[in-house]
Amino acid sequence: MNALNAFLFVAFPYAAVLVFVIGLAIRYRHRGFTISSLSSQFLEGRRLFWGVVPFHVGLLIILTGHLLAFLVPSSILAWNAEPVRLIILEVSAFAFGLSVLVGLGSLMFRRFTESRVRAVTTRMDIAVEVLLLTQIILGLWVALGYRWGSSWFAADLSPYLWSLFALKPETEAVYALPWVIKLHIFGAFLLIFMVPFSRLAHIFVAPLHYLSRPYQQVMWNWDRGAIRDPNTAWSRARPRNN
């Protein structure tokens, strides 16, 4: 049992993060063509709205919540010190969790019933969706059955995650958790592991740089100033669009 725990909560997380970092870097640098959100809105637009929007909005908020509890656990604990604030946090988090569940359910239903969307479905798409669905159901189960998650995540899980980062894994707290929570943690690392191999990679090319860039883009294959200078013409590197 301890060997299994050690694999699930020490070895696998390290392997997952390593594969994630190296895999994503390689894919981004050398197989950039394969990174795409693979939108199917062009094939079916109406039903998509009711799935894709609740799913993404809910998921972004839930993920941000998990990230905050990991990064600034003390602030979460301080917020939760007041019972009303704790309830507000938990209820709204649960609502967004439900929105993810409803959205994903509707997306999966659409994927299986729309023949055009089925035509662009790969096995990896289904694997990712099933895993996400499992993860969300587990998450909601945890939120209902083992409250209050926001507090014990900050108190117990955050130190575990930090200890992984510090390369000195402290796993007692995790080993003692109920199996539902353990599965949820393992599922999270499994999702991280799958990012470089699936469409999940599109999260990491979210176009936030759009906000800071000028609207128009002109690219020169060669430096136009240097092009007439015989001393530089052959030594210039090409820009990134080649």
Partner: protein, 517 residues
């Protein structure tokens, strides 16, 4: 002054016969692939008609292009705020049914069906799902269907015309149509570039070709919405947007793009124009009244020493400047003032210009006594015993312009943002050249009269001959003045396009085979 070079195009609509050879040439080279079957980077539409995708000109539906926003301009349906807010679901994205569902036929059924009482048939099947389907639309479904209620009468350019004018257009005796071939306009102020959240789309500095970097495109789909001409297409299989690349591998090697090379009617002209990049923002934000004039003014005189000096400082090659001085497009657009941009009101500053079709009523019907003429006919001649004369003499020189088969407003809605004077001016010039040539070749119009007509439009006999030559007689090298890329600058010259046919662009053959990783 910041002079750059732009490969620009002129399509002479009077010469287009609507044969779709351009579309097929393009399809064979570039879009004969999975996910791209429905794309026609080059397509030919019948006007009046709804076009492809249906009603693409109606920006109340598709929200393409730019609109005035105070003193500046803003993207109508995309941009930083709208684009990122709608990134999960773009409410203005056309879906494949707005174009058409690509189809093929089960041809093998014709051969492999077991013997039976009935002839085997090849059923249509969808190229997306592979399932049998009913074909509801095709790429040129409204071809030649002027006057039909489903297509011609839903032409968005008719919206501003009065019901009486619309009725007049579709009287059976007056029924007319013309063809509108369309490719990417390679705009100076491209809305697709501005709308791309990933920054995958860019305008090439060297020749102004607008391209989508397939490695950077992430399927946020905003370019499809933003392009008011709907010339950016989403590849549903690869999850990347694609568009006309102006056959840049051919242009770099000095060849004409495939659509232009193959043009049967020889309607297409391609050449370099020099423009002032510093003025783009000001011109695109012009008032409605000065927009077209400013659009034409941004194109600079390639003989002006200051322009040449600025171009050289920007690294424009001498051969390119030379090509700009002999550019057929510069002649049509600037020197002779014969061509206009398509829908300049979208404010993308398109660099593809159209010579509007004259569609003249060059003849009139009048009552005469035809008896003497009829007696000359022999027995087998078709003979109408009415006394109408189909009179092709041009006594009324300009009177017929207003009697053109299309109201000027209709043409103006397409080519000059509703300002009829621009279209009328160009049509008059086209007519003046015809009258001049008629005086030269037929001789039933006096030379003085022809000279007066030319003078009325600001032309002279020599210019008219030049226009006539470039319109009717021009050889390949007159129509396409292409500065080939210098060998040391060549980007794709070493690749043979045939080697990579069927792949997604150059360089990654397996690209479309595996979606995702």
């Amino acid at each position: 002054m910041n002079i750059r070079s732009q490969i620009s195009m002129v399509f002479h609509l009077d010469k287009c016969i609507g044969c779709h050879t351009c579309s097929i040439a393009c399809k064979n080279i570039w879009t004969d692939r999975k996910g791209a079957e429905y794309m026609w980077w080059n397509n030919v539409e019948t006007k009046p008609g709804t076009g492809y995708p249906g009603k693409w000109e109606d920006q109340e539906i598709y929200k393409g292009g730019w609109e005035k926003d105070g003193t500046g301009i803003a993207l109508k349906g995309a941009g930083k705020k709208k684009g990122l807010a709608n990134i999960f679901h773009n409410p203005h994205l056309p879906v494949i049914d707005d174009y058409y569902e690509p189809f093929t036929y089960k041809y093998l059924d014709l051969i492999e069906s077991p013997a039976g009482d009935d002839q085997p048939t090849a059923r249509p099947i969808s190229m997306i799902t592979g399932e049998p389907m009913d074909i509801k639309m095709g790429p040129n479904w409204d071809d030649d269907l002027s006057g039909t209620p489903d297509y011609a009468r839903k032409d968005p350019n008719l919206l501003k015309l009065s019901p009486a004018e619309q009725q007049a257009m579709f009287q059976l005796e007056r029924m007319a149509f013309f063809y509108l071939p369309r490719i990417c306009n390679h705009c100076l102020n491209p809305a697709c570039v501005a709308a791309c959240p990933s920054g995958a789309i860019y305008k090439r500095g060297e020749d102004g070709v607008v391209l989508i970097n397939q490695d950077v495109c992430r399927a946020w789909r905003m370019c499809v919405t933003a392009c008011p001409y709907k010339k950016s297409y989403y590849n549903w299989n690869s999850g990347k947007s694609e568009k006309c690349i102006l056959c840049y591998p051919r242009i770099e090697a000095g060849y004409a793009p495939a659509c232009m090379h193959s043009c049967v009617g020889r309607i297409r002209y391609l050449g370099v124009m020099l423009y002032d990049a510093d003025q783009i923002e000001r011109v695109a934000s012009s008032d409605d009244g000065s927009l077209i004039q400013n659009h034409l003014d941004i194109i600079q005189d390639p003989f002006d020493p200051a322009v040449i000096a600025s171009a050289k400082a920007n690294g424009v090659a001498d051969s390119t400047i030379h090509a700009a001085q002999y550019s057929p497009t510069y002649k049509f657009v600037k020197k002779w003032g014969l061509a206009l941009p398509l829908h300049p009101e979208f404010r993308t500053l398109p660099m593809l210009f159209y010579v509007p079709p004259l569609l003249p009523v060059m003849a009139s019907l009048s009552k005469v006594d035809n008896t003497a003429q009829s007696q000359k006919m022999n027995d087998i001649a078709k003979y109408w015993p009415d006394n109408w004369l189909y009179d092709t003499s041009t006594e009324e020189l300009w009177g017929t312009l207003e009697q053109a088969r299309f109201p000027l407003e209709y043409m103006a809605n397409m080519f000059s943002a509703g300002k009829t004077s621009w279209v009328a001016d160009r049509l008059k010039k086209l007519m003046a050249v015809r009258i001049h040539r008629r005086a030269v070749t037929v001789g039933d119009i006096s030379a003085e009269k022809a000279a007066k007509v030319l003078a009325d439009t600001g032309l002279d006999a020599r210019t008219a001959e030049d226009i006539y030559y470039l319109t009717a007689l021009a050889k390949f090298d007159d129509r396409f003045v292409i500065p080939a890329a210098h060998r040391e600058q060549a980007i794709e010259m070493l690749e043979f396009t045939g080697d990579v046919k069927g792949s997604t662009g150059f360089g990654f053959k397996g690209g479309t085979a595996g979606r995702g990783a």
